[in-house]
C-alpha cells in the first residue's frame, strides 16, 4: 500500500502538480538575479509557473475531454434523458452535464431543445447547473492543485447541488414561468452526426485551439490575481475576510462570485492563492462554484426564455446550495486537509 501511495504522490506532485516546473522556474529566476524570497520575485515565480502549468494541462485536458465529448452531443443527451423519470432523470442530467460540450452560446438552444422534447423542467435545470460547474477538466485541474480528495468532493457536491436544485425547481411547478414561445416550440428530432475517429480527433484539436484562445485572457488575469494574493496581500487580511473566524465568509465569497464570469481554469489560480493565504476551504469552493455556475451574461441569456420568477428561483436555489456546501466544507475541513 505504501508503494502505491508513494507512486501516487509522485504522480500527484510531479506530473499533475508539476512541482519540478516550479523549482525550474525558481532556478531560472535566481540565475537571472531575481530574489524569489521577496514578494515580487515570489509573485513572478508563481505567475510564470502557474501560467505554463495551466496552459499545458488545459491543452492536454481539452483534447482528451473533447474526444470523449464528441460521443455526447446534446441531441444524444436529450434522447438518453427522455428515458428517465424523477430523481433518476435529475441524476442522469447532472452526470451527462459533465460530459456534454457546453458553451454559454448554446445554452438557449439546449434549453429549448430539452423542454420542447418534453423533458421536465427540473431535468433541464439539473443539466444547466452541472454543465458549467462540474466538468472533467475541472476535476483534473482541481486534483493537480488541491489534491484528489478535495477534487472528488467538489465534483460530488457539485452534482448534488445540480440534482437537488433541479428537483426543487420541478417540485415548485415552475413550468408556467417559461416564456410562451418556449412552451409552443415543437419537438424536432435532431440529426446526430456520426463521426469517424479521425473526425473526432479533428474536433478535439479545434476545441483545444478555440478554448485556449477563449480562456487565455481569464487565465492570465486569474493567475495574475492569484500571484498578487499569494505574495503581496497580507495573510491576516485574507484570514480576516475569508478565514474561519469570519462567520459570513462563505456568503461573502458567493455574493462576490455570482455576477462574475470566468472560466474554471481562470478561477482556480485565484482560489489557490486565497487558500494558501488562510482562506477556508469551503469558502474557496463556494467562490469557485458561484463564479462558474452563475454569471450576469448567462442570466441575461436565460432571461430570454423564462420569466423572472423562474430565473429568480434558479438563482436563489443554486446560491443557497453553494452556500450550504461552503459551510458544510468549512465544518468538515479537518477531514480533507
Amino acid at each position: 500500500m505504501k508503494v502505491v501511495g508513494n507512486i501516487w504522490d509522485i504522480f500527484q506532485n510531479q506530473i499533475l502538480g508539476m512541482r519540478w516546473l516550479r523549482d525550474l522556474t525558481g532556478e531560472v529566476l535566481k540565475a537571472a538575479g531575481v530574489d524569489i524570497m521577496k514578494p515580487l520575485g515570489g509573485a513572478l515565480q508563481f505567475f510564470i509557473y502557474d501560467v505554463i502549468k495551466i496552459f499545458v494541462l488545459l491543452a492536454v485536458l481539452i483534447f482528451l475531454i473533447s474526444y470523449i465529448q464528441s460521443y455526447f452531443p446534446p441531441e444524444r443527451t436529450k434522447k438518453i434523458l427522455g428515458r428517465y423519470q424523477g430523481l433518476r432523470a435529475n441524476t442522469a442530467a447532472a452526470l451527462l452535464g459533465t460530459v456534454t460540450p457546453f458553451c454559454s452560446c448554446s445554452s438557449i438552444p439546449i434549453f429549448m431543445g430539452f423542454t420542447s422534447a418534453g423533458l421536465p423542467i427540473g431535468t433541464t435545470f439539473s443539466f444547466l447547473i452541472s454543465s458549467p460547474m462540474v466538468d472533467l477538466g475541472s476535476l483534473v485541474l482541481l486534483m493537480s492543485i488541491f489534491g484528489v480528495k478535495i477534487a472528488v468532493v467538489y465534483v460530488v457536491l457539485g452534482l448534488v447541488i445540480a440534482i437537488i436544485g433541479g428537483s426543487l425547481l420541478e417540485k415548485m411547478k415552475m413550468e408556467k414561468y417559461l416564456e410562451e414561445f418556449v412552451k409552443r416550440a415543437p419537438s424536432v428530432e435532431g440529426q446526430i452526426i456520426e463521426l469517424t475517429r479521425k473526425e473526432r480527433i479533428e474536433y478535439a484539436k479545434t476545441q483545444v485551439k478555440s478554448t485556449v484562445k477563449k480562456v487565455a485572457v481569464y487565465i492570465f488575469i486569474g493567475v495574475g490575481i492569484g500571484a498578487v494574493i499569494h505574495n503581496v496581500i497580507p495573510q491576516e487580511f485574507v484570514e480576516a475576510a475569508l478565514g474561519s473566524n469570519n462567520p459570513f465568509s462563505v456568503i461573502l465569497a458567493t455574493i462576490v462570485g455570482t455576477p462574475m464570469y470566468a472560466d474554471i481554469f481562470g478561477t482556480i489560480p485565484v482560489s489557490e492563492g486565497l487558500l494558501a493565504k488562510g482562506a477556508s476551504l469551503g469558502t474557496v469552493l463556494a467562490f469557485m462554484m458561484s463564479v462558474t455556475t452563475l454569471s450576469l451574461p448567462s442570466l441575461v441569456m436565460l432571461k430570454k426564455v423564462m420569466k423572472k420568477q423562474l430565473l429568480a428561483a434558479f438563482v436563489v436555489i443554486t446560491t443557497a446550495g453553494i452556500v450550504i456546501v461552503g459551510y458544510g466544507f468549512n465544518i468538515f475541513q479537518y477531514l480533507f486537509m
Partner: protein
C-alpha cells in the same frame, strides 16, 4: 444548393459564417449563404449546438468551427 449557417449571433457563429462565405467564393458557388439566427427557427431545425452548418436540409457541422478544408469538402460533396 441551400446553404445555411445556424447560430444565435455568437462569436463562433459569425466566424463560421465568414468561413463558409469565403469557401463558397473560392469554389465558385454562387448561391447566397443564409443565416438562421432566430431561436425558434433554430429549435425547429432540431439544432442544439451552435454554430451549425446546414446544406440542403442536412446538418453537416454542429457545435464547432471546422477548418476551411473541411467546409469545402462538405460543399463539394453536396454540389455533385
Amino acid at each position: 444548393m441551400d446553404i445555411k449557417v445556424i447560430g444565435s449571433g455568437c462569436e463562433d457563429c459569425s466566424r463560421l459564417y465568414t468561413l463558409v462565405k469565403e469557401c463558397c467564393c473560392e469554389l465558385g458557388i454562387k448561391e447566397e449563404v443564409g443565416k438562421v439566427e432566430d431561436l425558434i427557427e433554430i429549435v425547429m431545425l432540431g439544432v442544439m449546438s451552435v454554430p451549425a452548418l446546414m446544406i440542403d436540409g442536412r446538418i453537416v457541422i454542429s457545435g464547432m468551427v471546422p477548418s476551411k478544408e473541411k467546409i469545402k469538402e462538405f460543399l463539394e460533396e453536396s454540389r455533385l
